[in-house]
């Protein structure tokens, strides 16, 4: 992994996942290791993202490194018409590692081709967000003790959600059963179902949340966005079918955990927050340890 950019979850093997998860575990137990002293990380957020940016910047600071960068493109040279290539060619002279989020798909791969220093993709449009996927793997392993043979429910927008696509691809290495719960118009795309068929992985599709969740190990909820529906009536009809409420959890497994990449709007009722099965804020915390691990490995410090 040393000196290699992380652009897509497909860049890493199963062994790489474990290396990262093990090191993240180590950082969770002992978060203040000053491995990044004398290192500068550039955090280039061409579009805003509160959680991802703060999580990365926290990870750098916990490791004793320094952060330069911007949190939106509007007050930078990008607004003067500078190309991404020129921005990267400049910043790579300043920093040892570049973390970038950009609205254009494929921008991170392109940046990694022109940059002298490694790039970590913190989201390129609807394409990839590999550190989210790795922190999800970390959270699943931490709560279930394993990644193997789990019964996973993915709920919400399964058509456009890059998070669920990456997670599905990564978890396919571990013999899971998938349950896809979504409005008919936002179902898991056929190409991903074909992929599961090729790998011989079982999956079920449901239109709503009901008793089927009682055998779940993980319920991974994503936001159903109003703007995905051309007909607002359609949205009004489906939006309540995908809200997870506390009383629905009574018969679920005691070890089951609820995850969400956040931000949440109303798809998990706030009355779930106090339930020990709610795990989304811990999941966000895990993002810091996972990103510490990824950066330490890419910089060759571990």
């Amino acid at each position: 992994m040393k000196n290699k950019s992380l652009i897509s979850i497909n860049d890493y093997t199963k062994e790489d996942y474990f290396k990262i998860l093990d090191l993240a575990d180590d950082f969770q137990k002992n978060p203040n290791q000053k491995l990044l002293e004398n290192h500068i990380v550039a955090s280039l957020f061409f579009e805003p993202s509160t959680r991802t940016r703060l999580s990365f910047e926290t990870a750098v600071q916990r490791l004793g490194g320094k952060v330069i960068g911007f949190s939106e493109a509007s007050n930078t040279s990008v607004s003067k018409g500078e190309s991404l290539k020129d921005t990267i060619l400049t910043v790579n002279k300043y920093a040892d590692l570049i973390v970038m989020r950009h609205p254009i798909e494929g921008s991170a791969r392109f940046a990694s081709e022109v940059s002298d220093v490694p790039i970590i993709n913190a989201g390129d449009g609807s394409n990839q967000h590999p550190t989210q996927c790795l922190l999800d793997l970390y959270s699943i392993r931490k709560t279930q003790g394993t990644l193997e043979n789990l019964n996973l429910f993915l709920v919400g927008d399964l058509k456009y959600g890059r998070t669920v696509h990456s997670l599905m691809t990564a978890m396919s290495e571990f013999n899971p059963v998938f349950n896809f719960v979504s409005p008919p118009s936002l179902r898991m795309p056929q190409e991903y179902k074909d992929y599961l068929d090729e790998k011989g992985i079982k999956y079920h599709e449901y239109d709503d949340l009901n008793d089927n969740i009682n055998n779940a190990d993980i319920i991974y909820v994503t936001r159903v966005q109003r703007e995905r529906f051309s007909d607002p009536m359609e949205y009004e009809k489906v939006k309540n079918a995908y809200i997870l409420k506390n009383d629905m959890l009574d018969n679920t497994k005691p070890t089951m955990r609820i995850m969400h990449p956040l931000p949440r709007v109303n798809e998990i009722d706030t009355d779930v927050d106090a339930n020990p099965k709610a795990y989304y804020f811990e999941q966000a915390e895990n993002g810091v340890y996972t990103r510490m691990a990824i950066m330490a490995l890419i910089l060759g410090l571990k």
Binding site: S8, K85, I104, E105, G106, S107, F110, G125, N127
Partner: protein
């Protein structure tokens, strides 16, 4: 034999044969025929036993590069490239779909970096049951065979 009668034979050069008629102009476009200054003969909508109407291109004294052959393969995997000398076919090449192609196809995704900055396109070719898809190296979206647009 009929084609030799319909389209004039060449002494030495290249004959691109068994092009599906609908693909002719795309192929003319990608191999840049307008820049060729030797004799060129083009026949279209000729009868073909294999696939309805076919097209043929004959180019005097020019031999396509591997790159050109790859380009032709992406547009029309059925095309056959004949090398001619003294009016005879001395080599018959069935085009082969390459694993990757660079620079000349546009990515279909309007939000792809290759459509926003000066970045050469790169694709991995996927061949599923004869259906070709071009997976973008950058945005990872797939451009289908029917949506191939050539960058000139």
């Amino acid at each position: 034999m009929k084609n030799e009668l319909t389209v004039k034979a060449i002494k030495k050069g290249t004959v691109i044969d068994h092009i599906q008629a609908k693909n002719l102009f795309k192929i003319i476009s990608i191999i840049g025929i307008e820049k060729i200054d030797t004799e060129v003969f083009i026949g279209n909508n000729l009868e073909s036993k294999k696939h309805g109407k076919k097209a043929i291109i004959k180019i005097e004294n020019r031999f396509p590069s591997m790159d050109d052959i790859n380009k032709i393969a992406i547009i029309d995997p059925h095309a056959v490239i004949n090398t001619i000398d003294e009016y005879k076919v001395i080599e018959k090449k069935h085009v082969k779909i390459p694993d990757t192609i660079n620079t000349f196809v546009k990515c279909i995704n309007p939000k792809c970096i290759t459509n926003h900055e000066k970045v050469s396109t790169k694709f991995k070719i996927q061949n599923k049951d004869g259906k070709i898809g071009l997976k973008c190296n950058y945005c990872e979206k797939i451009t289908g065979q029917d949506n191939i647009e050539i960058i000139r």
